[in-house]
Subunit: 303 residues, 2 copies
DNA sequence: CTTACTGCTGCATTCAATGCATCGCTTTGC
DNA sequence: GCAAAGCGATGCATTGAATGCAGCAGTAAG
């Protein structure tokens, strides 16, 4: 699909930082590339690149142009996926930006289920924090984002939200394991492990602690959910997770999870999003629908 | 802006119905054009055109492609208008599809006011009935549509709605002219002139008549609002208009308008629309904002 | 059966895009 | 300070991909 995305060399130059370097990676001479840039600037009547002593940098107009090119690329992908769809091939590619909690169980199962039906569809799964996920949507490097408690949601269209109760994770023999629902006051008697502050679960807990008289003994802090989920097996410590990041009934080898009372820590929301005003390629749209269905079912299981 | 819209020849061929005719209008040989088509079909792996004995016709894939090309053209226009905007030129073009009522007074005044500020912006104003206006949005031949009581509104995004009371139009000496508000029962004593059935005003009146005991003596029927507005000057006949299609206090030379009681004929809605999920070019977006403001003011005047 | 119109293809041509060499400029390193 | 290195821009020769020409095969209309 060569000339379906013209001007894509502009992106290469912007990334490389100089015309000569970009010409190298494009395997053409700098002359040719330079000429294309000049011709393009002539057409628009505006400089696309700012000439610096050590290379070039996009002007404001150039940034608009790059945005346009990316949007166009995504449109072409959509078109190709539509055409492939009516060829009966069900091809395509889906890029997903998501929070950590989705990676260990939920997305692998979902993607495997989807690919079982549509084997020609390929996937890209990228761990992005809440801000980076929105950025990924904006520059078309992701089709959909699945994030817990996102930040601002500007330029983002919410396809669906799913409430997520915070669960306490502990070893099976832990005293609190006998209770059905955990109160925050109970937990304050034990050391806890928390995610670092950028994460949604931590935000919810921090907010809860402000309003509450309880204080937590934070013995462990980590930015890795996998670590936080496994650690209580070795210690009396309690950590917190949302259900989407937990394995099913089996596979909890020696550990148990108990919901935290919603009066203490309110439910957070898991957001399924896409870029505002964008029509997704067929594959991505269908996958989003499947995600929505599965998440609604998943919800029922844990309630 | 030549090669910013590649593939645009596909549209030309589709419209011409044959490669050779299209080649004529494009001022190139049929050979070259044919080659491009073959190359394109090779890239997509799907025939774009169906070969008929007397020419070609778009396949399903081809129709998708044409839709994509139109969308792309509109995107490029948006980009250029954005770039022109930051050049301080405020250039651009706005295409408007609208009902008859907007043409005599409202749009001329609005466009003139806009062009006073942005002289480099050009306009296209096209009379389209309610169904055709939506079609015009869909194929990107119009940026915004202003229609009274539209039909289905699929694939259309409503930017704003404005209630429009139906007004009775009569000569100044008419007996009913002494009343402040007209009841449908009063009108039934006189002959009336109505727009033909596709128009929103007629729809409202027809609906009103079904529910009401009153019957109207339809002496004149026309699809031209200009005619219906002027005719009562020569006759005791009464016609109906919405305020947006009427001149201000002056310029009614010998005629008066009186609102029809909303209990008899409910208010209709004037819709300001754009294509769903489309980002308008700067000029069109700004003009839409101006329209919205003016219409809100206009509303105050007549209430 | 002829005529006219269609899309398609082999071969020669041409012109726009490319490559080469070089200039003018700024920053970097000694 | 002065040479070196890296950058974008430009004049000139070259090349190859897109074009044009002529002719093919097929179908519908008269």
């Amino acid at each position: 699909m060569p000339e379906l995305i013209p001007l894509s060399y502009v992106e290469t130059i912007a990334k490389a930082g100089s015309i000569r370097k970009a010409a190298d990676t494009l395997a053409i001479t700098s002359t040719a590339l330079n000429r294309r840039v000049l011709a393009l600037e002539d057409e628009f009547g505006v400089p696309i690149f700012e000439r610096l002593p050590r290379g070039v940098r996009l002007t404001t107009a150039g940034e608009l142009l790059v945005q346009h090119i990316r949007s166009q690329r995504s449109d072409v992908a959509k078109l190709q996926s539509q055409i492939a769809d009516l060829k009966g091939e069900r091809r395509g590619h889906v890029s997903i930006a998501c929070s950590q909690a989705l990676l260990p169980y939920f997305l692998p199962a979902e993607i495997a289920a989807y690919r079982k039906q549509h084997t020609a569809v390929t996937f890209g799964v990228y761990l992005r924090d809440r801000a980076a996920a929105e950025q990924a949507l904006a520059d078309f490097s992701a089709d959909v984002a699945l994030v817990f408690e996102p930040v601002r949601l500007s330029n983002v269209q919410v396809l669906a939200t799913f409430p997520q109760t915070v669960y306490a994770v502990m070893r099976a023999g832990h005293p609190l394991a006998r209770r059905g629902v955990i109160r925050l006051g109970d937990v304050s008697q034990y050391p806890v492990g928390l995610p670092t502050s950028p994460y949604g679960v931590r935000q919810l807990i921090d907010h809860a602690l402000v309003r509450s008289s309880a204080r937590l003994d934070v013995a462990i802090e980590s930015d890795n959910f996998q670590f936080l989920r496994r650690y209580p097996a070795e210690d009396d410590l309690i950590t917190f997770q949302i259900p989407i990041g937990l394995p099913g009934q089996d596979g909890m080898d020696g550990m148990v999870v108990r919901p935290v009372d919603a009066r203490d820590i309110p439910q957070g929301l898991l957001y399924l999003c896409q870029l505002k005003n964008r029509t997704l390629p067929v594959a991505a749209a269908k996958f989003a629908v499947q995600l929505e269905r599965s998440l609604v079912e998943q919800l029922g299981e844990f309630e």
